[in-house]
Amino acid sequence: MSAELIAQLVVIGFTFFMLLNSAAILVYMERKVAAFVQQRYGPYLVGPKGLLQPLADIVKLMFKEELRPTAADSFLFYLAPILSATAAFAAFSVVPFGADTTLFGLLKEPIHLAAADVNVGLLVIFAITSMGVYGIVLAGWSSNSKYSLLGGLRSSAQMISYELSYGLSFAAVILLAGSLSLRTIVDQQAGYWFHVIPKWFIVIQPLGFFIFLVAGVAETNRAPFDFPEAEQELVAGYHTEYSSMSFALFFLAEYVNMVTVSAVATNLFLGGWHGPFLPEWLGWIWFLAKVGFLLFFYIWMRWTLPRYRYDQLMEFGWKWLLPASVVNLLVTAGVVVYMGW
């Protein structure tokens, strides 16, 4: 058991633990931000300023009764939330969140600050996101109820439609960076132009960033694209029949997916862990700040924008976002070829 192996295991465990915590923090943040948007107080009774509210939520969910409709296919019924949660966590495993560090000189060689570092990291994220569709489809099917089935089908159709724009928008980033590994893409964004403007890809790819974020919001089934979960239309869509821990797993999966999309967007477009005023090894603070800003933006969008109707949603995805991402890719390719970047 060399020191590197132990350090790597610690990093993996730490990443997992922080993802779980981030889901809890997001629950709190969502309710507080929603409250401020709606001009009321959020949770303020449990703990100082309501900070222990997520704990209360989790305890409540754990003690609820676990229900299952009799006609539901029990194996698939329990498999679906597990699939969703697993895909959500696995997708974050290849996202780097800091520069190589030697952990204050404890190690002889620097280790990567990510659970795993693969050459084709971006493709792995895309692949695991595609697998996340299955949790929702199976949830809809195995509940054996028409609301769930419709919600599941709509949700998965929406997710696979927006996967195309998602993929094409980061194909443009791959063109600019010349590599599929997220770490290399972030390292390409170090430095400044004219000592003032940071070399982040959002500066040269604003349309790509917009498309990526919109497609990411649609992928995670959040407003304004959350028709499949629409409380007013479909009871609760694909997770109508779930209660207690299975429901908690679905929500965990949704929040972790949000975190993953924000983290990938940060790495691809916002320069990852590079930022002014801090030494390189404290870069993860910048990373957290940027991811936090994107998450805040997510929640803000949910409580500000009205929900898209399903056909409007699909039309937007196929007729507007997909051609826009193709044009973005073509223009980027043209510029890269002609200016020799």
Binding site: N119, V120, A127, L138, I160
Partner: protein, 169 residues
């Protein structure tokens, strides 16, 4: 490692053709594809492994799942009557079973007589195939095939939409 993935693939494929419920068949096939993707990683082809998951397990199988769910495909009845026994009664089943047996026999014969010891060369000089190499080959030597494939996809898209359309009265 190889043996684990190989065993999972073979068992999952056997279960795919043995299951009555088509929903379980599709899910087991996804498991089989995942194991195959692992085999591709072992063969130093990470790009193919990733696109196996993205295309096969992520897109094609979703398509199959949609069709199974929307058509509410009935669970296949156990074969009755003269279809019941594989070799009993003339008919397509007996023919099919005989043909499969012939294929397996031929493959076994070929392997028994034809295999020579051929170890996979070890990692000296071998590296995981990078996307760069695949891209260079794909766009330079196989340009025509690439363009033809895009036309093929377009044609199949149009065809699928036309075939599955409801008759508008």
């Amino acid at each position: 490692m190889f043996w684990i993935f190989a065993a999972v693939t073979v068992i999952a494929s056997l279960l795919v053709i043995g299951q009555r419920n088509p929903m379980y068949s599709v899910l087991l096939l996804i498991v089989s594809f995942g194991a195959l993707s692992g085999l591709y990683v072992l063969l130093d082809a990470p790009f193919i492994a990733a696109i196996q998951i993205i295309i096969y397990a992520g897109a094609i199988m979703v398509l199959f799942l949609f069709v199974v769910m929307l058509l509410n495909v009935p669970t296949e009845d156990p074969p009755t009557g003269y279809h019941a026994r594989l070799l009993g009664g003339a008919g397509p089943r007996r023919f099919g079973a005989v043909l499969s047996a012939v294929l397996i026999g031929q493959l076994a014969w070929a392997f028994y007589y034809g295999l020579r010891p051929s170890p996979l060369p070890h990692a000296a000089g071998q590296h995981a195939t990078t996307v760069f190499e695949i891209g260079m080959k794909l766009y330079k030597d196989y340009t025509f095939a690439f363009e033809a494939t895009s036309v093929l996809i377009l044609v199949s898209m149009v065809g699928a939409i036309v075939l599955a359309r409801k008759e508008s009265r």
